[in-house]
């Protein structure tokens, strides 16, 4: 039982990290960024490229090396996210939302098969593998790398939350989410804020990619697809556009999967998860923390 809880929370924290990017972008420009899962994949490959170009890393240095790579990857994948926004999304600002959705799918294709063309379709083994002691906590087997990764994930989420709540850029983001035209009139540089949003969301996804690579050890060019769908689901469960909701939704989704698989068997897990999602949304149509918005006419 506690093992299931822990497994669910651990997987859920990955979902949450990716769901955050989904939710931030959606909150601000109402775009379902389908290429977001692929930024996670790209992050893993960037980390892979950097680590393998360095050569053999002594085991004692691996955590430090990984942290440095994590930071660099965040910057690079953030930059790529911004680039995608410039090329594929910004020209369509103000167009029907579905049009942007299509360019997002196009960007997703381009990233997936671009990486496949460059790095080959075979899965790669990550050069650094996090390994460590396992402990017994309340009957659950917990390993040191899991704790490290959870701590990093939680730190990233907390700092994001305070960034959004405390800084002027965060306030600008919230303002645009509330009323883009109004914020523009109030002198907010909307383009700059959107750029930042993409940067942060993509950087978080890239970080999740490196962490997944280092923990699970295997990366491939389609690794972002399923987790992207899951993160989207998590973002919706939490109430899309809501940052805390995305974190909560990610954790909840992880738990749902862990228990669903236990109760019904692995082949029915996703059926169970989606059925719960649908039942839940019919009862609470705005997600966990989403607010009911009075429709303005």
């Amino acid at each position: 039982m506690t093992q299931l809880l822990w497994n669910g929370l651990f997987v859920g924290s990955f979902y949450a990290l990716i769901a955050l990017g989904y939710s931030m972008v959606y909150g601000i420009i109402k775009l379902l960024n389908f290429a977001h899962g692929d930024l996670y994949m790209l992050g893993a490959f960037i980390g892979y490229a950097m680590l393998s170009s360095v050569g053999v890393i002594p085991a004692s240095m691996s955590i430090t090396a990984l942290l440095i790579v994590l930071l660099l990857t965040m910057i690079i994948s953030g930059g790529i996210g911004v680039g995608i926004e410039r090329l594929a999304y910004r020209p369509l600002r103000g167009s029907p939302r579905l049009a942007v959705l299509i360019t997002a799918v196009g960007a997703s294709f381009t990233l997936e098969y671009g990486v496949s063309a460059i790095a080959g379709p075979n899965p790669r083994v990550f050069p650094v593998r996090l390994q460590g002691e396992t402990f017994d906590i309340l009957g659950a087997r917990v390993s040191a790398p899991q704790i490290v990764l959870m701590v990093i994930a939680v730190l990233l989420m907390l700092s994001l939350n305070s960034y959004i709540q405390r800084t002027s850029m965060g306030r600008a983001m919230r303002a645009i989410a509330l009323d883009p035209k109004g914020s523009l009139l109030m002198g907010i540089n909307v383009n700059k804020v959107i750029t930042w949003t993409f940067f942060i969301g993509s950087a978080l996804a890239g970080a999740a990619g490196v962490m997944a690579g280092a923990y699970y050890g295997k990366i491939d060019f389609l690794m972002g697809f399923i987790i992207g769908l899951k993160a989207f689901t998590a973002a919706v469960i939490g109430g899309i556009g809501n940052i805390k909701g995305a974190m909560l939704g990610g954790l909840l989704l992880g738990l749902l999967e862990a228990f669903g698989s236990q109760w019904l068997g692995g082949e029915w897990r996703d059926v169970f998860t989606f059925a719960v999602l649908i039942a839940f949304l019919t009862l609470k149509p705005t997600g966990l923390l989403g607010e009911r918005v009075t429709e303005r006419v």
């Binding site: 497994n7 990955f14 075979n122 396992t134 997944a212 699970y216 295997k218 692995g266 082949e267 996703d270």
Partner: protein, 389 residues
Amino acid sequence: MKLRIPKVLAVGAVAAALMATTGCGGILSGGDENASGDSGPIKIAAVIPLSGSSAPTGTYMKNGMQMAIDEINAKGGVLGRQLQFDPEDEACDPTQAAAAANKAVSNGAVVSVGGYCSGATLPTLPIFAKANIPMIIPAANSQELVNQKLPNVFLINGTGAQQSAAAVKFMAKDGVKSVALVDDNTSYSKDIAAQTKKDLEAAGGIKVALATSVTAGESDYSSVVHDITGANPDMVYWTGYYQEGGLIINQLKAAGFKGKIMVADGSVDASLIEIAGGTSAEGVFATMTQTPDTIKGAETWIADYTKKFGSAPGPYSTQSYDAVRLAAEAITKADSTDGDKIIAALAAIDGFELFSGPLKFTPEHTLSSGGFQILVVKDGKFTLHDDLS
């Protein structure tokens, strides 16, 4: 109103231009339909996944085939003609597979040597059958392919039933009392798992403690690992591919699983050991037909392959290589590129040396002996453990 007629014409012209591109595609690809005639190169087609999640294996297969084609051509080809290789991507998608097979037929294929995803291979059978083109299927081995009873279809991979028989035999021999069967919910994998379950229940004595599936393409398999450790079987039999297999082995070991692990032939790949990490895969058993690794004297083949493609051979490289060689052999024996004659020659082949041993087809056109053996991972390599004879 005056404009009406030109309007319609103009629309017609625009749309015809659009359609003409379609036409061009068709005409271009159908341009040399007489290639199967008596001159020019002999076309060998392969409908295999070169994009999508099965692209890695498809690439291994393509390389194996290319190698055989180049070798045969270097020796002067077949019937004094060169072989021409025509790989078509199907992305494991039945719709694309049907299109690809039709394209291969239109291109004048003489023999088809493709077939990896069983679900995508099935719709290609009637297309090749109608054109009377022999199919040598190197990898796909779902029982459904055999059940169609088509005369032009030959399977040179052991079937699911043969593999599960070998697995059950080894489990009994090894004194295993309870087994967990894990598949990846694809037809290949589920076929073996279901057959193994049936065989075990028929034989009695060994309990199936757990039979479950995972979703391929994910990274975290902690939930299935939790189910396995909960059921605590003596042995886990994983019937999926190496990408997920490596992760599951790693996560099982990390969760403190002490039982034995066995994998099916789709997981027999050096990457499995790498993905499992460190020494996690040591002692993992595998049901597998003969591979270059277990055949004496195959080192040169591996070296040639690695030199040519810059990476070591992977799953089904050898079967694909053999499929092309077999096709060449059958064309030589038939002394013709006529479909019926090649099919007759294939059915009559006896003792042609493949990696999996001397070949003879059963009346159902499957391998008369699956040739499955048990391998074990030792010092980071798959080595022969028990040939089950």
